[in-house]
């Protein structure tokens, strides 16, 4: 009799446990959405339009609350550290970060983010032996460099390169691709300069030998040169480069830029939010880096075809 009573109590306990589980599931659905902080330099800049649109779309699909930090230029790891700390106090579950230039950025990110997952959306980290361990969502910069090189090797010309930070893995990959494409051609890289803070780049290149083509790997500088060309204040070498904004495409459309590679910001944004959401929802999930698409546009054959229209829709 006692044994039977015991059995009943165990069954009742198990049933109650299950009932509690389902009640918990009912209330579990009302839990707050995961919060993701996005740290981009000059967050209001037009070049992030597609990226942010992709992020917003993925955030809506995955029920994630996204906070885009309002930033000015982030010129080094120290500035980025401040933003990370500020957001950590803001009860953030994960970070999507455009890494600041600097040798200490990677260590700073590991230290500051601590147990909060973070994902990089372009590899601006310093070149080290091998690749960085942090998962990164970015286009194949080497392929982009190779495409630019292919366009430059069609005729004999001197090439000058302008980039933002020498030690960036992305910049190194682009230059490497460029070199590979130019190898065996009559075109030669004459010089390569890296932008410094507060530096007038137009004045800086005047000190270099005259180049027939400029490869601008810094989207901001490319826009600057393109705009000057549009206004007639820049004359000289043909402009090639990597741009993210609609403005750079319009500058190419207007004939001010000769060749342009546009990484798919929408895809970078969308994939990054999707990936970090998986990590936040499942602690055991190991985040993966992705190679994203990019659009290549040449001045001579530019036309508003369906493919380009679809690509530009992400800027709308």
């Amino acid at each position: 009799m006692k044994k039977n009573r015991m059995k009943f109590l165990i069954i009742e306990f198990l049933l109650l446990l299950m009932a509690v589980f389902f009640v918990w599931k009912i209330f579990d659905q009302n839990v707050a959405e995961p919060r993701i902080a996005v740290i981009l330099p000059e967050s209001g800049d037009k070049r992030w339009d597609a990226l942010i649109k992709g992020m917003k779309q993925a955030a809506a699909e995955n029920n994630v609350h996204m906070i885009i930090c309002n930033t000015e230029e982030i010129d080094g790891p120290e500035a980025e550290r401040e933003f990370i700390r500020e957001q950590k106090d803001n009860d953030i579950d994960g970070f999507i970060i455009y890494p600041a230039p600097g040798h200490e950025t990677e260590n700073m990110l590991k230290k500051e983010c601590g147990n909060k997952p973070y994902l990089l959306i372009a590899d601006g980290l310093a070149v080290k032996e091998g690749k960085t361990a942090s998962p990164t969502i970015q286009p194949d910069y080497r392929e982009i460099g190779r495409w630019l090189g292919e366009r430059l090797r069609t005729k004999k010309q001197k090439v000058g390169i302008i980039a933002d930070w020498k030690m960036s893995e992305a910049v190194q990959a682009e230059i490497c691709g460029l070199n590979e494409a130019l190898e065996g051609s009559e075109s030669k890289i004459s010089w390569c300069i890296y932008r410094r803070k507060e530096q007038d780049i137009v004045e800086r290149i005047k000190k270099e030998t005259k180049a027939d083509a400029l490869v601008v790997l810094d989207a901001g500088i490319l826009e600057e040169f393109g705009e000057q060309a549009e206004n007639g204040t820049y004359e000289g070498a043909e402009l090639y480069g990597v741009g993210y904004s609609l403005k750079t495409i319009a500058l190419l459309d207007n004939g001010n830029i000769q060749g342009l590679a546009v990484p798919d910001g929408y895809e970078i944004g969308y994939k990054s939010v999707e990936e970090i959401t998986k990590r936040i929802e499942h602690r055991s999930y190991k985040m993966q880096g992705y190679i994203t698409e990019y659009q290549v546009l040449g001045k001579e054959n530019f036309s508003m075809d369906e493919d380009l229209e679809r690509f530009l829709y992400s800027y709308e």
Binding site: I11, E12, L15, A19, I26, L246, I249, Y313
Partner: protein
């Protein structure tokens, strides 16, 4: 007869007590009822949710179609206004034309991106806002131009596209929906034709669609052309990149109404509404996953409620089953206690049926007890009468035989021997009578045996010898009277009686205690018995030769067993020409008046453990 192995009774293993049966039945009924009710409730709720979602979507689609109709009607009216009130009214080179053209644009600049008039060669005649044409633009190759040329009576709506006509200093691309129509142009005296183009801002459609999609809770709305070409989709960018799939081609083929289709690997309900004039289809999609998310929450409520109800019912049913079965269990326990030998009162309580049952069982037990007492009394009486009958068989034989011997002695003038004989007979009769008692001390029985043997020795002229080897401690134990003498009688008749004096006939009577029993052995070295006689001597009265007293050992055996039980009695060993040994086994019961009386009344044996 076949050797049949009996299977274990499987029913025994699943035998349940009444409480378990009642509980099981109640639980089964409760469980089935709750589950059925839960499922019905869930199904009803699911249908209601589906209906609500579909109804809401239908209402939204209808309202949005109305709004789009109104907006597009406005745009068409602007285009018609430009055609009938400006292009056909004024000379295109006149100032009024430019002013009216500009005024129309300015008035509607929130809706239209540009207004332009082209001649049949594709040259720009007029445009608002005034802007430089893009280099290398060939309007004749653009869809809106070709459509206007192909069907001159109609206003043509293009799908959204980037405007590729004018320079834009803002470094932006404008998304527009182009409305074009073939128009008659008033150019001085000569009537000419042209293509009137109105580029409607895509935001006119996008804002309406975005508004309904922003707070739709998983349900979404999109707009396609009648060919299934996407005009607006909330996940348009994902569609362009293959990150999302939409079965717009199928959906666009449907007439207005509600349909179930399969898209992107899941079922969805689509509500189709047509936008007037353009043939565009406004489609509201209720994905199965959205419905499922709504059901999921309710499913948890149903599960939690069922489980809580089950726990409560389990406890309640247990209480009810315990209450119902309690009188039966009490009755069962009292019956079991009764069966175990106790004499508790049979439980009488609970409902009237159980009370009646209790009363019946109680009455039955009382009757059984009465009957048992009666049977025991009758059995005792029967035993007594059997014993009496057996003893009454003995007495006449003894008397007859002994008197016959005395007669022979008197006839033979052996007076002393006759006197001794009579004296021994007197002792023998005294023991035989024993005041009518059946149980006597062993020493009296031995005295009886000695008297008997003395008489027989006298009769048989001392041709054999007798020896008594009795342990003293057994002399004061109980024995059924007259059990040794018949055996001695047989030992004489079948053993040593016919032997010569020289043959050394010998009868030894020995008695000893072994464990809790007494063994009295009567051993002779006479002719012994054949095996067949030995086999039947204790079982078949009819086969025992009727010599001597006429009382077979079987009678002695029966009397001992009747008095002391089946495990007691005689055992006989015999070898032809070797002799016979008869052993009497009786329990060692000290002779006291109480024990003797108890044995007489057959109560002593019943009281003994295992008796």
């Amino acid at each position: 007869m076949k050797d049949r192995k009996r299977k274990p009774d499987s029913r025994k293993n699943i035998a349940l007590n009444i409480q378990s049966i009642i509980l099981s039945v109640l639980m089964a009924i409760s469980l089935v009822t709750i589950i059925v009710m839960g499922l019905l409730l869930y199904h009803r709720f699911k249908l209601a949710l589906e209906k609500t979602a579909v109804d809401n979507t239908e209402a939204t689609v209808e309202a949005t179609v109305d709004r789009l109709n109104a907006d597009l009607l406005d745009i068409r009216q602007i285009l018609n206004g430009a055609n009938y009130n400006i292009v056909q009214q004024f000379d295109i080179s006149s100032r009024e034309f430019s002013e009216q053209f500009s005024l129309l644009y300015e008035t509607n600049s929130d809706k239209i991106q540009s207004l332009a008039l082209y001649d049949p060669k594709g040259n720009l005649i007029a445009s608002e806002p005034v802007a430089a044409e893009k280099k290398n633009v060939k309007v004749q190759t653009q869809e809106w131009y070709k459509n206007a040329e192909d069907a001159i009576e109609n206003i043509h709506f293009s799908t959204p596209h980037i405007q590729e006509l004018f320079e834009d200093g803002s470094y932006r691309y404008q998304w527009v929906v182009s409305l074009s129509r073939y128009v008659d142009v008033n150019k001085g005296e000569t009537p000419e034709t042209g293509i009137l183009l109105l580029d409607m801002k895509y935001s006119v459609i996008r804002d309406v669609m975005k508004q309904i999609n922003d707070c739709s809770g998983g349900i979404y709305y999109y707009l396609t052309s009648q060919d299934g070409e996407m005009i607006y989709h909330p996940r348009g960018t994902e569609l362009n990149r293959g990150l999302f799939e939409e079965n717009s081609l199928d959906a666009a083929k449907y007439e207005d109404g509600t349909y179930e289709i399969r898209s992107g690997g899941q079922n969805e309900t689509v509500i189709v509404g047509s936008v007037a004039y353009t043939g565009w289809k406004m489609i509201g999609v209720v994905p199965e996953s959205v419905q499922a998310a709504n059901y999921k929450n309710f499913r948890y409520y149903v599960f939690a409620t069922i489980l809580v109800l089950l726990v409560m019912l389990l406890e309640g049913n247990q209480l009810v089953s315990r209450k119902i079965s309690k009188p039966i269990r009490e009755l069962d326990a009292s019956v079991k206690a009764h069966e175990a030998g106790g004499k508790p009162d049979i439980y009488i309580g609970g409902s009237s049926e159980i009370r009646h049952l209790g009363h019946s069982v109680q009455k039955s037990y009382e009757q059984i007890e009465k009957l048992m007492d009666e049977i025991i009394r009758q059995q005792n009486e029967r035993r007594k009468s059997e014993l009496d009958a057996l003893q009454s068989q003995i007495n006449p034989h003894f008397l007859y035989n002994t008197l016959e011997s005395i007669t022979w002695m008197v006839e033979a003038q052996e007076n002393e021997a006759a006197v001794r004989m009579i004296s021994e007979l007197a002792k023998l009769l005294r023991v035989s009578l024993s005041r009518g008692k059946t149980i006597i001390p062993i020493k009296d029985e031995l005295q009886h045996s000695r008297s008997y043997m003395n008489i027989q020795l006298a009769r048989y002229k001392e041709r054999f010898k007798t020896e008594f080897r009795i342990e003293e401690e057994i002399e004061n134990c109980c024995i059924v009277k007259l059990v040794i003498q018949p055996i001695l009688e047989n030992a004489i008749y079948y053993g040593v009686g016919n032997m010569d004096e020289d043959d050394g006939g010998m009868i030894i009577v020995s008695g000893k205690k072994k464990d809790e029993d007494i063994l009295i052995t009567i051993e002779d070295n006479g002719m012994g018995m054949r095996e067949e006689v030995l086999e039947n001597i204790l079982t078949d009265n009819s086969k025992v030769p009727k010599h001597g007293s006429g009382v077979g050992v079987i009678n002695v055996h029966s009397r001992i067993r009747l008095m002391f039980g089946e495990e007691y009695g005689l055992s006989i060993e015999s070898e032809p020409d070797e002799g016979t040994r008869v052993t009497i086994r009786i329990p060692a019961i000290p002779y006291t008046p109480e024990n003797a009386e108890a044995l007489e009344l057959q109560k002593y044996i019943q009281r003994r453990p295992g008796g």
